[in-house]
Symmetry: C2
Subunit: 388 residues, 2 copies
């Protein structure tokens, strides 16, 4: 049953090859001082930096650069970004990159004028902004996080070993996002496939919950089927526009709040994955991939009907002559085959996790209660050990 | 392959039982003069009128009523609404009703300050508004059209026998819509099931086009599966909240522009249905139901792959041991069984169409080219005759 909710998503998406041409029109809606946020410099190699700065110059904007946003943006980097934004009184934050750059830009947008430590206010205490918010626009170069059309913002505090995501309201969503699938062509395969699993896991985190009949679940089955189909093509042909465009679109809709409407959601794979990431600095999607199957196999008996449905509707498992448990298991095996086929990391040990980290990772794991089984600390340890 | 597009949908949706409680908060964003638009008075019988007017009074609004919006709103009614809106300088148009009331309210919103005949400008010439637009909010009491979250506005001119829909841009979308599934409980079964087919047909109009692989098609398969499942429950148990809420949500997403992104769309069933409606004043969804199957059977050979996919992915037709044509036909037969099961009208003759109208209906039918086969006039006549 669909629970009560308010749905509002004001982000404008400009989608398709050449959609960067629309950036100029978007920039006209903002003042002259633009903070250009990007990561490690890949946008300089693939030419996107030159294209974006040419458009900014053409629009007469004064640009303040904030480069070097790392894959798991740190709280120290956030403080630096706030200083740049505030000191230069920027009118717009333009994020050019993947989910980390977008997440970070939203963090700066709510934090620059925050009168206390934004880590405490927004991440530890999860409060909502009551200060000036700087508008954010995105030029996406990597898919997976959905950050281009939501309020999600994950920041890592290495000192306290905490990686926390705050999901802000629609006043913090990017005002616009430019989505050109060809911008994702040059991404290394490791990052590309990590993004694919991030998308899949965003969907499963929202799918594996509740026992009712909900339209959202049917939509998610469609999104998963599309992702599975296109990801198999994309790993073989990274420049297959059809596959990359479908994946880019699926990624956005997997986590722009739509499929969560009326649903309880889980996010336990993300909670464990974030803890793994805080200890190993693993690529987000790979940390999720390495813990997802042990987690789902652990909770499967508690949500058997849904795991059966997942097997049949998403993986085309034929139910005839099988027990419920066998059908559900066959679905997870099909997912495992797909994960190996596209080249995901299946063990946290491959991501640098060691036996002596397990207790610490378990302690750093927030336990959610939205899924089919609220995990105990021992169960988290089991899952981590199964992934060694 | 996903074509290029801009997606923007700023309508805020307040969904669920009791969501009318959110109307007060929404009204606070607008001035004190509210035009209250509704239809034939069913909202007075079911108590929604009293609830809405109590909230308006509580907010201190001055209310200008515009009642009597008919199922296919006429151009004469539009002129009357424009006069009411303009003379009273209303700040907000509050539509309380189904698709016709919402469509009509959007027509008034762009037409009240239009300096020429709005029928000519918006419907015959399909121009975009360049005058003041009055904001619209909706309280939905009937599902099907998706008008609560899109720019669609269909107006009928009986004098010229034309029923034309203009799809306006996001500046004309309702600012907010209140969606309470329990408000749909009291709808007579005929209107309810007509709405169900309207939803289904909105999806099939967007599904049956193109030969590429598109995420939108996978999402539409999910929406159709959900609709089929819930509609079967709702016809037996009209007050089944789970079913009615899923249908209400599916209706919104079937036609809020999302699933059309990157797609060519067809709309030929609507074109024929509109022409039938102009001649018979048939309920919109029933006119669609009566012509859909003859149309799809006619174009099936030209889009065989997609009709096969429809059969397998939407209707669970098993493909083994059947030819492509047999699989596709089995899908349409399954749809026919479902249509009869929920009690739809299958013939235009049951809607008041007579043999002598057929030539006229064919002449009044706009021919689109987005589907698998651009119909000839003779083919439109064949379809109409098959529905007699």
């Amino acid at each position: 049953m669909l629970g009560n909710f308010v749905y509002s998503n004001p982000t404008r998406l400009c989608f398709g090859e050449g959609s960067l041409d629309r950036l100029k029109g978007e920039l006209e809606n903002y003042g002259g001082r633009v903070m250009l946020v990007y990561g490690g410099g890949s946008i300089k190699k693939n030419g996107i930096y030159d294209k974006v700065t040419a458009i900014l110059k053409d629009c007469g904007k004064t640009v303040f650069e904030d480069a070097g946003v790392m894959p798991n943006p740190t709280v120290e980097k956030l403080y630096e970004g706030c200083r740049i934004a505030r000191e230069n009184e920027v009118d717009l934050i333009l994020a050019v990159g993947g989910g980390s750059v977008c997440d970070y830009s939203k963090a700066v947008s709510v934090s620059a004028y925050c009168e206390e430590d934004p880590w405490d206010k927004y991440y530890l205490r999860m409060e909502e902004p009551d200060n000036k918010i700087i508008p954010v626009g995105c030029v996406l170069t990597m898919v997976g996080t959905g950050s281009e059309m939501n309020g999600g913002s994950v920041i890592t505090n290495h000192e306290t070993k905490l990686k926390i995501g705050h999901v802000f309201g629609d006043n913090v969503f990017p005002k616009f996002s430019i989505l050109d699938p060809t911008f994702t062509y040059t991404l290394p395969k490791y990052q590309m496939t990590a993004g694919f699993f991030d998308i899949m896991n965003h969907i499963t985190e929202q799918y594996f919950s509740d026992t009712d009949d909900s339209t959202s679940d049917y939509v998610m089955e469609g999104l998963m089927r599309s992702l599975i189909h296109s990801s198999r093509i994309a790993v073989k042909e990274p420049e297959n526009y059809e596959a990359r465009s479908n994946i880019m679109w699926t990624a956005t809709w997997a986590l722009n709040t739509f499929v969560a409407m009326g649903k309880t959601t889980d996010w336990m794979v993300h909670m464990i994955g974030h803890a793994v990431g805080a200890y190993t600095n693993a690529t987000h999607g790979m940390a999720l991939a390495a813990v997802a199957l042990p987690y789902y196999r652990k909770i499967c008996p508690y949500g058997l009907e849904k795991f059966k449905r997942f097997a049949v509707n998403v993986w085309d498992v034929r139910p005839e002559g099988r027990t419920d448990e066998e059908i559900a298991a066959a679905g997870l095996s099909a997912m495992e085959d797909w994960m190996k086929e596209i080249g995901l990391v299946m063990k946290i040990s491959e991501l640098g996790a060691t036996e002596d980290m397990i207790e610490g990772i378990a302690d750093a794991t927030f336990i959610n209660s939205g899924g089919y089984k609220e995990l105990t600390r021992d169960e988290v340890i089991d899952i981590l050990k199964e992934s060694m």
